[in-house]
Amino acid sequence: MSEPKIPPAAVPETGGSAPPGAATRNPLSALGEARHLGLLVALGLLIIVGLVTRPENFATTSNLVSILSLAATIGVITVGATFVIIGGGIDLSVGALMALASVWATTLATQEYGPFVMVICALLVGTGAGLVNGLLIAYGRLVPFIATLAMLVAARGLAQRMSDRKTQLIQSGNTALVDLSTTRVLGIPLLVYIFALVVVLGWILLNRTTFGRRTYAVGGNPEAARLAGIDVRRHTMLLYALSGLTCGIAAVLIMARTTTGSSTHGDLYELDAIAAVIIGGTLLTGGRGTIIGSILGLLIFTLITNLFILNGLNTSDQLIAKGLIIVVAVLLQRRNLKERAP
């Protein structure tokens, strides 16, 4: 009979073969991981299409920079959306929150205090509204779909009221904000760096901290998380606040890009962001997913649009092709997901 006395704890073991899961956790090898293979293949195919159809325009630095700049705004939001969805929720209000934050930050009253305060204002508005979402969902126990839909509607309304439905230009004194989009370091606009920074920070938060681990737990099995001593409600609330914060950051980027704040900014971003996250392999039911997948999913979308415009296709054909490409990309991806078989 065996007496498995629990051995004295934990001298970090270095021995043995590297555990297979360890690969998942390495930022670089994560890219090459099987589950992202389909996405990479799809991305590769699109790039080939670009090179073949528009050899002179596609592979230029300026076009690549342009693609990244286009992806930046919604990319930042996608990072937040990934957290919310892994945490078992959904945030339909992202586009509207970005609009509200951009409008609030560009009111005359705010603009008086200069670009720094405008940025802070956008971040606070985004985070605050996200917090309201979180409170309604975590403590008011509203279904996330409904709570954030209500927020979508209300935030757009508020943004329209606040701006009197006008496009609010950034005043000449505050062009430092616009510099985010026009100033380039090593040929790349600052806002692309901000995008990259948000992705990296998001990746670290999700994969290297207790917050990230709890996010997976809360989304995967909230009851188990609760019984394991995790404050599921508080965590849920924080997830929506985080999503709101990314909307605030996105608002700063869109203000820099368009030199305006407007209640029409971010229309239908919610669908794009959620689609990118899901194409990236995150489950809508929560508990699973990666930031890298989401960003790859988003880049596929952005690339499709770029290719169509480069080739001068009209929107109708674009839409049809987009539908087909989404299906193909996901089928490709599914092929590499044997684990998820029936």
Binding site: R54, Q160, K166, T167, L169, T182, T258, T259, S262, N311
Partner: protein, 326 residues
């Protein structure tokens, strides 16, 4: 742009012309119903504001706007509710003239004169008077400005790019047709066109990619000054200035850019939202059974098409007060 320090008489409807014939004197009290698409961007917002402002000038007008919406189904309901409320005249800017034709017919059948604003009903029985802009003419004006400028510069085989508004609207298609036809007279054609959604952001996105697709452009026509803000931002970001740009609609912001003359925007062709104020005035006259005092006829004419004017650095001062804030 609402942030500009108070511009004199910017977007409000121009003050009524001196009442020579007494048409502005109070008459019988009339209720005017008003339905338009959702005011989610500058031009339509200006439409709603101009209508309301015009109505406020008259003590004998009760203005009854209904919830603006982009859903056709809801706009039908909205008009139905105005018919049920038995207003004296209806001003309708339909989301789509064809789709609202039926309900306009109903209104006419119920004895309510319909003043069709801008997007036209296909059935003449459906409205009493139409007043609107000239979308085809707008394209023509833009085409002529660009054609002439390029001809003068002696550019052969120019790259001309077009950024449209919402592609599914008939007005977009009319504008493009006019543009194409006008360019043809110079032997030019459009090299590329893409549609945006009348918003700053979509204008910005489309322009950013179009600029990548064409390394050298000679002229660009952007259908709408609202989305034009985004287009200009994209041009600035890309650091491009080798071409001329023409706007559309005539927002105050675009006019100021033209006035300053520092950007690629050299002209804009008007599509003035002041037509909403005129429509309210016409509705009042029709409901009160009056004619237009400058005309000999006893009744308001059946249709009035506004001319699309070209605003350039030379004449911008004259137009600036009429520019709407996008």
């Amino acid at each position: 742009t609402s942030n500009e320090p108070a511009e004199p008489a910017s977007s409000a409807a121009p003050a009524p012309a001196p009442a020579a014939s007494g048409n502005d004197e109070p008459g019988t009290k009339v209720v005017i119903g008003f339905s338009a698409p959702a005011a989610d961007h500058g031009w339509i917002a200006a439409i709603a504001k101009n209508a309301e402002a015009a109505a406020k000038q008259y003590t004998d007008v009760e203005f009854k706007p209904v919830e603006p919406t982009n859903d056709i189904n809801q706009q039908i309901s909205a008009v139905e509710s105005l018919i049920a409320a038995k207003v004296n005249a209806l001003v309708i800017l339909p989301n789509d003239g064809q789709q609202l034709n039926q309900v306009a017919l109903q209104a006419t059948a119920a004895g309510i004169p319909v003043i069709n604003l801008d997007r036209v009903f296909p059935d003449k029985l459906a409205y009493r008077t139409w007043i609107g802009g000239d979308n085809y003419g707008m394209g023509v004006a833009a085409g002529h400005f660009i054609g002439k400028s390029l001809k003068d510069k002696g550019v052969a085989d120019p790259v001309i790019v077009e950024i449209q508004g919402i592609a599914t609207l008939p007005l977009t298609q009319d504008r493009s047709k006019g543009f194409e036809d006008a360019l043809k007279t110079y032997g030019f054609k459009v090299a590329a066109k893409q549609d945006a959604q009348f918003t700053v952001e979509t204008g910005n996105e489309v322009a950013a990619s179009l600029l990548q697709a064409h390394k050298k452009i000679d002229a660009l026509w952007n259908h709408d000054d609202d989305q034009g803000i985004g287009v200009l931002a994209a041009i600035k970001e890309a650091g491009r200035d080798e071409f001329i740009m023409v706007g559309g609609a005539g927002s105050a912001n675009a006019m100021k850019e033209i006035q300053a003359g520092t950007s690629v925007l050299k002209a804009t062709v008007t599509y003035s939202p002041t037509m909403a104020a005129s429509a309210i005035k016409l509705a009042r006259l029709i409901a009160q059974g009056k004619g237009m005092s400058d005309l000999l006829e006893n009744q308001v004419p059946q249709s009035i098409t506004l001319a699309s004017e070209t605003i350039t650095k030379e004449n911008v001062d004259k137009y600036l007060p009429l520019g709407f804030e996008s």
